[in-house]
Every structure is written in C-alpha cells, then in structure tokens.
C-alpha cells in the first residue's frame, strides 16, 4: 500500500496589527479569545479579583441601564490604601473592650449589663466597618466604549449615577499630589464634559495616567467612528 502523505495542519496565529491603538488591539484579543471559548485572557491590568481597584476589561461587570452592545473597558475604585483610616478605626473598636477595666464604673454594673454593653459595642463596630466597606466597594467609576459612568452611594438610601458620552469629553486632568499618592501611584481624574453635568471626578483611582491615556484613545476611536459613519 502506498504511503499517503498528510500535510500538517497549519496553526492559526493570532496576529494583531501593531499600527492599531492598544484599545483596538485589546478588543481584538478579547474577541478572538471569546471565539476560541477560552474564558481567561491575560491583558495587562486585567484581574478576576472583585476587590481590585483597577480592572481592565472586567468579565463580570454589569450595571443598571447598560446598553446590550456596550463593552466595559475599565472598572475603577478608590485605591485600597484609602481604606486605611476606617480599617484602623475598626481595629481600635475591636480591641477597645479589652481596656474597659480602666473605667471603674463599668465594673460596678451587673454582669448582664456588662455583657450586653460589650455586645452592642461590637455590633456598632461591625455596622461601621460594613457600611464603610460597602461605600468603597460600590463607589465605582466605569469606562465603556461609549461613555463614562460614576456610581456613588452617598449614604444609606441615596445613590447617584452620573454618566457622559465619550464624545462629550472636553478635557481630562490628572491630579496626583502628596507623598502617599505619589508613593502608591494613585490620584484624581477630573473630566470636563459638554454634558448636563459639566464635571465628573474619578477620585483616588490607581494609575490615573493610564486611565487618561485610555480615555484619549477612546475619544480618538469615537472620532474615527463618527467619520466612518459607524456611530451607534
């Protein structure tokens, strides 16, 4: 029987043109990975940690009033170091009952009252820590391919959602000042818009320079889309 030569199948290479912007390259990588049903992708700044303050192309982010075709490019929160004050305060509240014997009047109280007072103290500590955590966790800034959104939970029943289209952005200012902010590389991003709300602040976000660059690229891309007539 004659040998039959079977040529090796050529492996498809994922070639991304270097001439395109990083945003476009990242979009292509994500779409290719999705097509090949590989859920994990390794983009710089991408993270699966829900507590991360800087997530590039987050996988699981959904927000209210999201357009089905809208892609989330960045999810930002305040830098974790900004939580230090309430974490220290909570720690002090937790260890405080150990030093309660300093106050003589407390030991004069009946045992039942002492126990209940300490339990109430811990309840207040838990409530304080939980509220502060929730405020940090749900106060996010989102950048999509169409708009920027700020979700802020000011207090228990007051939420504020501000958004502006990418093409309405007029000016982006990066503010990094102070020793701690310089050391941990976080700062504010002030975005001036032509929308109803003239200014949107991204407070204490990590890598503000990178975010400003991404916004600039998105604005350029939006301009190109307008010129090509691909506006959604």
């Amino acid at each position: 029987m004659a040998d039959v030569y079977i040529s090796k199948k050529k492996k498809k290479k994922t070639v991304v043109k270097k001439s395109s912007t990083p945003i476009v390259r990242a979009k292509k990588v994500v779409s290719k990975k999705r097509k090949s049903s590989v859920s994990k992708h390794k983009l710089p700044g991408h993270s699966y940690n829900p507590f991360s303050a800087y997530i590039y192309y987050p996988d699981r982010v959904k927000f209210i009033n999201r357009d089905p075709k809208e892609k989330v490019i960045l999810l930002l929160r305040k830098h974790p170091i900004t939580n230090l004050s309430w974490v220290v305060l909570t720690f002090l509240m937790v260890i405080a009952p150990a030093f309660i014997s300093i106050f003589d009047f407390f030991e004069l109280l009946p045992m039942g009252y002492q126990i209940v007072f300490i339990l109430i103290w811990y309840l207040i500590a838990i409530a304080f820590a939980f509220e502060e955590f929730l405020k940090w966790f749900f106060h996010v800034n989102i950048i999509t391919d169409e708009r920027i959104i700020e979700v802020d939970f000011v207090n228990l029943f007051y939420r504020e959602i501000t958004d502006a289209n990418i093409d309405q952005i007029q000016d982006v200012t990066v503010e990094v000042g102070g020793g701690i902010r310089t050391m941990f590389h976080f700062g504010d991003l002030v975005i001036q818009t032509a929308a109803e709300i003239p200014k949107i602040n991204f407070d204490a976000i990590p890598n503000p320079d990178k975010v400003a660059r991404i916004l600039r690229e998105l604005r350029i891309e939006e301009e190109v889309e307008k010129l090509e007539g691909r506006v959604r």
């Binding site: 829900p50 699981r60 982010v61 209210i64 039942g112 209940v116 309840l123 939980f130 749900f138």
Partner: protein, 74 residues
C-alpha cells in the same frame, strides 16, 4: 433605705428599656442595610454579590440574637 432600692430598681428598669429600644432600632437598621445592599447589587454586579448578601444575613442574625440575649439577660 427602701426609697434608695426603689430608685435603683427604677433606674435599672429605665436602662433596660433604653437598651432594648436601641436594639430594636438597630435590628430595623440591619434590615434597612439589607434593602440598601439589594439596591446596590441591582445597580452594579461585579461577581461578589452572593457573599455580600450572606454577610448582610449574618448581620441581621447577629442583631436579632443580641436583642434576644438582652431581653433574657437584663
């Protein structure tokens, strides 16, 4: 002497009522927090909602437990 005992017991009663009212208000607050978390998770999903809901549930259980302990112990 009897007057002092009566004053002492009435102060204890006022303190007990005050603590229980505080804990009832706190329990209402814990339910309010659960409502707040529901609003927050409806507004934004990032893949940690179920754990936060469990934390809220633990908070409610703790507040109710302390209320019950206060009613029994005081």
């Amino acid at each position: 002497m009897n007057d002092l005992v009566a004053i002492g017991s009435s102060v204890a009663l006022i303190a007990k009522i005050g603590i229980i009212i505080f804990l009832i208000v706190y329990t209402i607050f814990s339910f309010a927090v659960s409502k707040q978390v529901k609003i927050m998770t409806d507004t934004l999903e990032v893949g940690f909602e179920s754990q936060i809901k469990v934390m809220v549930l633990i908070h409610i259980v703790l507040s109710v437990a302390v209320l019950v302990v206060a009613i029994i112990v005081l």
